[in-house]
Symmetry: C2
Subunit: 138 residues, 2 copies
DNA sequence: TTTAAATTTATAACGATTCTAAAGTAGAGT
DNA sequence: ACTCTACTTTAGAATCGTTATAAATTTAAA
């Protein structure tokens, strides 16, 4: 439909051919107001719902890995058998709801400034990730 | 040898029978001055070096899961195909060296106080984990 | 010593992810 | 529009960390 040409450009500009599979995945991931978190399985289910011609699991993995590579997605550090991705690639932190197994964004106002005072020679900081695990109180 | 009775007590007091496999793993994990981080594979290799009669991989997994359950070990939240454990069960944070694939403790002096200002109704905080990924600078 | 429950073990099963290699497609050059 | 080649998709196999199974062994209570 409408926004396809935007995604076609986005893909082209990063050296990825705008295939119909990639465009569909782009629309699902990026054609919305709010960012969100997902696993490959979530994505696979969502795709099955919105399209008749199925996209193979290998392609979903290939595409998500390519998007992560290009910086369109972020992988969240969390110990789970599944990998969690985030369409919000800005620096931010997370609650992880252990009951729902879902990530919730913490924005800058939600967390005091994090200061790393230690440094190691020959090493530089690549990322700072805070994960706050939460669960039902009762 | 010497400290066995301490570990035997520790195991008994937590409802775990003090088998020779568990005692060997206890000695390897806890009979030392400094705490450390390890994966099951690390531990398996270490065990093979210090003992002639091999401990099956299933027993290693069972034992580590039991120790985690009892609070003798902590699992670190990190996105890796392997699970990382910590014999330091106190609250502390980590550097993760992406080149060496190894965790390095950050103590309280190394990180400014972390303040979580957001809370969700019906939910309580279970843990706060900061992971600072580092890599070679050049 | 007897006996039930806990533990160990080898091996199978599982599940997320990656690999393979064959078939299909996109786009540059003509 | 046609050709050609590199890129992409795909089904299915392979990988690998972890968990499940079920039989043999060990622990420890009675
Ligand atoms: Mn992990
Ligand atoms: Mn993970
Ligand atoms: Zn997020
Ligand atoms: Zn640690």
């Amino acid at each position: 439909m409408s926004n396809n040409h935007i995604f076609i450009e986005k893909l082209r500009s990063s050296g990825l051919r705008p295939t119909k599979q990639r465009i569909k995945i782009c629309k699902l991931l990026f054609d919305r107001k709010d960012t969100f978190h997902f696993t490959i399985n979530d994505l696979s289910d969502s795709l099955r719902k919105i399209t008749l011609d199925k996209i193979s699991l290998a392609t979903i993995y290939n595409t998500i890995n390519a998007f992560k590579e290009k910086g369109y997605l972020k992988e969240i550090s969390i110990n789970s058998n599944k990998t969690y991705f985030d369409t919000n690639v800005s620096n931010h932190h997370h609650f992880f709801d252990e009951n729902k197994k879902e990530l919730i964004d913490l924005n800058d106002n939600d967390v005091g400034k994090i200061k790393i005072k230690k440094s190691l020679p020959g090493k530089k900081i690549k990322s700072i990730e805070l994960l706050v695990k939460i669960a039902n109180s009762n």
